[in-house]
Symmetry: C2
Subunit: 323 residues, 2 copies
């Protein structure tokens, strides 16, 4: 039976090509400079994790050929909205590099980067606007959480950040949109409410695991593999889990605020050495693993099959990635 | 008959209160600082021209009570998207004042202002996402034109701008969204295609007239009435119709580029005097009047009634306004 299902299953790589085509079509426009900016962004690619999750969730929930166009549009919409948020995020964080290339605001200036992000948001919503109301609602809800997470992060730059606030921020900024992708795949497959909810939890939890892993890479990653400058978060004062979990942070003589201020001024290599020695990086990896394990457990509601296996593998890969 | 119709007509002021309630509900969120920023923006108000046009077009096309909730949602969506674009526009143009108050990026910093704009875009699209697909399409199309207009304007800052480019930019940036409002009102009233198109032209043309009048106010307006600093466009190098139509601009010895560079460095009072003397301001007012007249002529497709009269009055008021 597992073999039969495998034979009938969705060609995920083929569907991802359809997603690329939908994205390319969505970003076409009448203004040459805008077209050039967004074409470079789209060509630069990325992991396409969000489209993959939407497609896998759709297939794992038994979505049929008749609704494939819808999940392709939804997957493209999520990727467009994600790219929009990265462009604006890079302005906010003053990041010089993304995927190994200069960020849009560095290449084209902040005014153009703001508009390029707005355009990608618009095109994402335009695609999602063709979908059922419930999908539009889930998408918009995720975008609201995203904006809340951005403001909360900036607001807490000036204050103490504890583990709970950190987790709330990354849930809103990273995990809620991934939750929306997984739920949308299940919704478009016509899955029952409890399955949609379980896929939503899966998305939320791998999203949290993914972001912790990302924050670990910010300190312990290899720039040649990540395509990003090292220690960017520490430099801009964003307190992440690996930094916050430092032993020193619990020492009343050297509190988290002092540590953050130190982290901002310390050479990235020195910071990495310090956090490795105190075991902070391993501890953060452990928290990511916990969320990845929880995510996998949510998939118990699904029947066996290649897309379920791929969702399990994805939950493993987010904590093991090097880029 | 006109009287009967008047008695049955839409209570526009009452419907505008419903629009305010829909906006207030849409901008509620979990992040206190974000809630505060957008509440201030919404409270600061504005002309609410876009909601008014959507409601009047709906009523003038015979829209009924059953679809009132839809046009209220659409009107709120347009106002939210408009406010979002103003917040981002003020960052791009580095405007210090809007509606007599410090702009969001001045009060809260650029990072928060970017996110506040994204949040308002999201909530606008979320509201519009509840509406018929055709309305979503028209809304998204207008937002794409808006982004194109922004980039085109910035791109042409470094080049010659002729009257045609200026009109294309203001059509995209200001008039296309107003066109979408008028079309949406007609669409939700179930008007036939040619009426929807005529209302679209009306919106486009009063939008162009409105923007020319706005650009005249930038130079010749009273800051106590406009709530904006004088000569802001000239200072940032944006070449508008009143500046471009200066006699000097047609003198080969003093081309538009030279004039623009001069305008950027000249004291606002001196610039106003110069443009009044050469008749440039009166000429720009004449162009605005031409578009206003064209817009009014489009309304011939509508039956007589108070909302049609109000649309005519609106086309008159956009060229006569002082703020």
């Amino acid at each position: 039976m597992s073999r039969l299902r495998a034979a009938a299953a969705l060609d995920v790589e083929g569907a991802l090509k359809q997603v690329e085509a939908a994205i390319a079509q969505a970003v076409d426009c009448q203004e040459p400079l805008l077209r050039q900016m967004v074409a470079e962004l789209v060509r630069a690619g990325g992991k396409r994790m969000r489209p993959r999750i939407a497609l896998l969730a759709f297939d794992a929930c038994g979505g049929g050929e008749a609704d494939l166009d819808k999940v392709v549009d939804a997957a493209a919409a999520f990727e467009l909205i994600h790219t929009a948020s990265l462009v604006h995020d890079d302005i906010i964080d003053q990041s010089p590099l993304r995927r190994g290339r200069p960020t849009v605001h560095v290449s084209y200036g902040t005014p153009h980067a703001i508009v390029a992000g707005d355009f990608l948001f618009t095109q994402g919503f335009a695609l999602s606007g063709r979908l059922p109301k419930e999908v539009i609602r889930v998408t918009a809800e995720a975008c609201v959480r995203l904006a809340e997470g951005e403001v909360m992060e900036q607001r807490l730059l000036a204050e103490e950040v504890d583990e709970e606030s950190y987790l709330t921020i990354i849930a809103k900024k990273t995990a809620e949109p991934i939750r929306a992708c997984a739920m949308t795949g299940a919704l478009l497959a016509g899955a029952p409410k409890e399955v949609v909810e379980a896929l939503g939890h899966y998305g939320l939890e791998i999203g949290i695991a993914f972001q912790i892993a990302d924050d670990v890479l910010d300190i312990a990653g290899n720039p040649a593999e990540t395509g990003k400058a090292v220690g960017q978060d520490a430099k801009t004062g964003v307190l992440t889990l690996p930094v916050g979990l430092n032993e020193a942070g619990t020492d009343p003589g050297w509190d988290a605020k002092t540590f953050r201020s130190m982290a901002r001024q310390t050479d990235p290599e020195e910071l990495r050495r310090l956090l490795q020695e105190t075991g902070a990086i391993d501890k953060a990896r452990g928290v990511a693993q916990k969320y990845s394990d929880r995510a996998k457990a949510r998939l118990a509601v699904l029947p066996p099959g290649p897309s379920k296996d791929a969702l399990v593998a994805l939950a493993d890969s987010v904590v093991k990635r090097r880029s």
